[in-house]
């Protein structure tokens, strides 16, 4: 068995496979089919200060090789999370990373402060793909200054790993990764969903109640991989790769491209044990290829041609 465990900003993780926010609930729904202790970590559904009911139906639609969602950050709110879900999560022998969503910078800070005091939270992931109410609903995450500001304001509030989850819906994700690094963020998670849309031609209405939604699943894997490659070449802090991972081969592509770890999202819906299988498959690959430590794979891409994300001739 290769060495799978590693330290992410001081936090020891069992392996490099986590489950992505919003795709594993609060960790307690899959127990019967998958042992969460075999995961590198669990990232919670995005938590907001107040409970959020979420969007009206339809919230989900399948597309070619992927799905669109418009959940609307439905969650029970940080306080009920602490009371009802955290006690269970403390019993699970894996890292728990709380994902935070908010519509003002103050709210991000407030949610983090509430969680910082709680035992059982090992780190934070900041979801910046949220509309900023002060900016008329523009997404924080598409504004580099806002992402820098969020990181700057949150950084002093915790010594635990602070991950910022970037949106792919920007021209140069490298700039956002650099901003997070400059403000002391410990890692960037790359990527959240791509903006997408589907229309029912019978009714001529959008399928999703919010018109547009977030595209995830295998369809976006090539885009996610390019974004991870771009981000990981721009910063020294770890990049956590996310997007369309359903198999160990997919995860290996991300590690080789430069991701220090990966998150499995949509694949959990099809197989709640997907993350565990991916972790086992990475170990198998390392064994078969005589790789003693998974770390050796990270960023091992042999890109002799040297073309970059930005100058390749499409």
């Amino acid at each position: 068995m290769p060495l799978s465990s590693f330290r992410l900003a001081g936090l020891e993780l069992k392996n490099r496979v986590l489950v992505a926010s919003g795709t594993y609930g609060y960790g307690d729904d899959c127990l019967e089919t998958a042992d969460p202790a075999k995961l590198g970590g669990i990232i919670t559904k995005s938590l907001s200060l107040k409970p959020r009911a979420g969007n009206p139906p339809v919230r989900i639609v399948e597309t070619a090789g992927g799905m669109l969602n418009s959940i609307g950050l439905a969650n029970i709110g940080v306080r009920r999370f602490v009371d009802e879900k955290l006690p269970f999560l403390r019993t699970v022998d894996t890292a728990v990373i709380a994902n935070i969503a908010a519509s003002t910078i103050e709210e991000y800070c407030e949610v983090l402060r509430i969680l910082e005091g709680e035992e059982g939270i090992d780190g934070f992931e900041i979801n910046v793909s949220c509309p900023n109410v002060r900016e008329g609903g523009l997404i924080f995450g598409t504004n580099c200054t806002a992402v820098a500001e969020i990181t700057r304001r949150l950084r002093p509030l915790t010594k635990k790993p602070l991950l910022v989850k970037l949106t792919p819906n920007v021209t140069h994700i490298a700039e956002f990764a650099r901003a997070v690094e400059a403000e002391g963020g410990d890692a960037v998670s790359v990527i959240n969903t791509l903006i997408g849309m589907a229309i029912d031609v019978k009714t001529r209405k959008p399928v999703l109640s919010t018109v547009t939604g977030g595209l995830s699943g295998p369809a976006i894997k090539p885009v996610a991989l390019a974004k991870v490659y771009e981000a990981s070449r721009a910063v020294k802090i770890p990049v956590i790769g996310i997007g369309g991972i359903t198999s160990a081969t997919d995860a290996l592509e991300f590690l080789i491209a430069g991701a220090t770890a990966v998150q499995v999202g949509t694949a959990n819906f099809i197989d709640p044990a997907a993350g565990i299988k991916v972790a086992a498959g990475i170990d198998r690959y390392c064994d078969e290829n005589g790789i003693p430590d998974v770390a050796a794979l990270v960023g091992s891409l042999d890109a002799a041609s040297g073309a970059s994300v930005l100058d390749s001739w499409l």
Binding site: T23, G54, N69
Partner: protein, 255 residues
Amino acid sequence: MMMELCPVEGVRRAGDGIYVLSFVSAAMSRSIRAGQFLNLRVEEGCEPLLRRPFSAYRIEKTSIEILFHVVGRGTAALRKKRQGDVLDVLGPLGKPFRTADPGYDTGLLIGGGLGVAPLPLLASALREQGKAVVTFLGARSASQLVTDHLENVHTATDDGSIGFRGNVVGLASDFLGKHPITRPKIFACGPMPMLRAVASFARASDIPCEVSLEGPMGCGIGICQGCPVELAGPEKSYALMCKDGPAFDIRTITI
């Protein structure tokens, strides 16, 4: 809940575009209850990407049957399964119908279209609890009416090709008008417009009523939040169809 690779026993035709698929699962056949569903991965790979939910239709020893209508690529692929194939099944999922409720003596089962699927198991469960059962089934036409494994069935078809001409809610209300039943409870399953009609009929007649809902599901197990069902009440809030349902007491939801 478990995930199991189940051997397919076969697929047989049950009506126009309607088929029964049976597969073996000793564990699920023991544990599944009327109203629960199974989430099937119809193909490996990503077309279709997501699982497809189907009600448990019948249990025969260790076999489980589902009754399905070919409407898209998932169900088209299911139809092609053969003995020897293996089906990846996640289940049993959801909450069973609340059959144990002491507040009724007769279950009125109302099924529209493929809404008949959960009724045979439900009828058995009711009989085991000593309840009487009357069943009303509606379909487009005779060729799409699947009355097998059900007793005491009254039928309606849109085209009048068999039974009552009209919709199944009209049939049920007509029947109840002529044959008053004491302490009934309605269990209904079918397309949303039918369920709305059932709900208003139940409310108007003050009959307790559970409806089994259908809609898009991402996971079937409560981790995607993709299947909201609006709860009754002053504040906007949602239950999850997959985890809290698929059957709901009509007093608890906005339908």
